[in-house]
Symmetry: none
Subunit: 407 residues, 2 copies
Amino acid sequence: MNHDALYSQLLVKTPAKMVLVVLDGLGDIATRSQNYLTPLEAASTPNLDRLTEDSAQGRMIPVAPGITPGSGPGHLALFGYDPIEYQVGRGVIEALGLGIDLKAGDVAARANFCTLNEKGIVTDRRAGRIKTEICEALCAELSKKVKKIGDTEVIIRPGKEHRFVVIFRGKGLEGPLTDADPNREGLPIPVVKPTVARSAKQKKAAKLVADFYKSALPVLKAKRPANGFLMRGIAHQPAIPAFVDRYGLRAAAIAVYPMYKGLSQLVGMKKIEGPETIAQQFERYLTEHDNYDFFFIHYKYTDKHGEDGNFEGKRKAIEDLDAALPILLRKRPTVLAITGDHSTPCSMKGHSWHPQPVLLTSECSGSDKLDRFTETGANLGSLGVFEAKHLIRLMQANAKMFDKFGA
Amino acid sequence: MNHDALYSQLLVKTPAKMVLVVLDGLGDIATRSQNYLTPLEAASTPNLDRLTEDSAQGRMIPVAPGITPGSGPGHLALFGYDPIEYQVGRGVIEALGLGIDLKAGDVAARANFCTLNEKGIVTDRRAGRIKTEICEALCAELSKKVKKIGDTEVIIRPGKEHRFVVIFRGKGLEGPLTDADPNREGLPIPVVKPTVARSAKQKKAAKLVADFYKSALPVLKAKRPANGFLMRGIAHQPAIPAFVDRYGLRAAAIAVYPMYKGLSQLVGMKKIEGPETIAQQFERYLTEHDNYDFFFIHYKYTDKHGEDGNFEGKRKAIEDLDAALPILLRKRPTVLAITGDHSTPCSMKGHSWHPQPVLLTSECSGSDKLDRFTETGANLGSLGVFEAKHLIRLMQANAKMFDKFGA
């Protein structure tokens, strides 16, 4: 019997309200140049400090030891799905990031305009990084010319600069396919192939991509410098068991950035539109309190500043969230978890594998008697170091959603 | 190669003596209303404190994150058996709790007397909670009338109030079966069915239960209010690899309560009868010291008071065990582990999923340089947070029972 089956067997309904607050890229590392403080340690966080009195802490391995996750695996793990079992292709993630509503079975590709010479050789993989407005105009033109291929709908959406996304929405399609990208200049665009030779669905998808090139390249023929395009990460949206079926929880996502709205929709969370600031997000939780059992609240700015190597910015972003926290606590949820989807150390200017700190508070979380919520404090907590995919099970336990196992 | 196979391959014989002291439900949580102390923290434990100087500490997840175990899974894990792989049905646990010696293959059911109306509808699932003496008389009558069904022996033993246990001892039987219990009043007693449709052994067991009803119900026909009975958790005693074969250790159980004697017998430990107090249990260890390699010593009162929400009682129970500890240490075992089978937080008045603290001491345990053995201290220990099923392997390692793996 696998663990998921056991959890399902023991599941009971409760009126509990659960909130998962994700400070994207929250985790950090203490380095000499930062005076051995992390942004979380350097920040003034009176509200988190107060929560800590009645909280358990620990650190979470986002995927596996040493693995640095992207936003997709990072969030799937937080939602309780094994991020190695449920892999979401880059095309799908890119489409979600552009706010495109995908359906299960849609095949999505990251694409970008490139420059080809008269022999079809790629001479600039990014077409001189054309401006976003040019990309938008080219995508509009392509969309107008190529709406369908056979019975399959083709959806083209511009991104920033030379980037865009192509979605194939039809029956019997599947990824992943190999890339239509030589990955360096001086070579032609390769023909895409199934990654599983015998898959009829992948074959159909590969044929579609080839047909798309046949229809789309002529539209660009006279353009300069964007007279061609490359496609990568061609994958279908996987069928992921719905959050409500897996946990018995009606879930809502209160996120600002399209990517995180999209990731929450992958597991069937209801997307709540409107809020722009963390204070507004917490306010919205208050008004939606009775309509859902589980709230995923996403905060981007910790990651953003981490990526920029901006220690002060990340510290300030944490303080801003802390200042807004009393709004959330006006209707204190039965179970509240505050964490990141991964670490984004300022000194590394990017995502990392370092376990992110997590704080869990409920009437039965117990107290680890720590003064603050920090990476160093979390090292001393009762939750230990554990895989992020288990967090939701601990939240459910704290909400008394599991019967006793065995007598 | 699975881990068990590796451990077996590396196993060497040593003259080591190992003792596992289980304070049932030892773990607790620090809450505001308890002044942020657990009973273990509040207790005065000079003998445990002294042991701590030369001990490693950690915390153990009884089954899996967020899963609250019953006594069965909690102890199987301590005995080193994966509690999800080796599941023991409720009927079996109930029979063990009544002190019935089960054999592998016995099918056991929790039963209780109920009241039926003239149409066979259950009108009171507990027959007005008849007195234990009445239950005993009814069971005696049933035992006299129904001794065998075909070649299968039927054993009926009374419990408290309306509760009893039925054992079917024959060849080719297997559980689990569905319940002969509608789980609410106003419905007839359902006919039990195999849970695996194609299992011939389950079919045979289901037929036996039906035949048992045919023979037993007429005996009760004229009784009031106990003119019927329900059966639940109908399961067979699983074949569990014997402790001695798995670990190369002759094991004895020094327990007071029948349930824990029974659980130790499931894995083939020798049941040592007689002791009533923890001091007597430790005394008995001294006299049996040369006869066994491994001693499981079970202490119930920490759990009992935890279940009652009696903080002072739990604290006192810990102090009582601490006071008796010098007896055990007169023949200090090569390896001594002191832990619980799970947590039973006073504030929750029941078992919980919170990892229980564990103390491990031997000549090569090392010292974690902690002052005391507590939940908060254990968070800082060198053993970390780990699954309880691994404890016995750590004990074996400390007893130098494993050869080096690889060169």
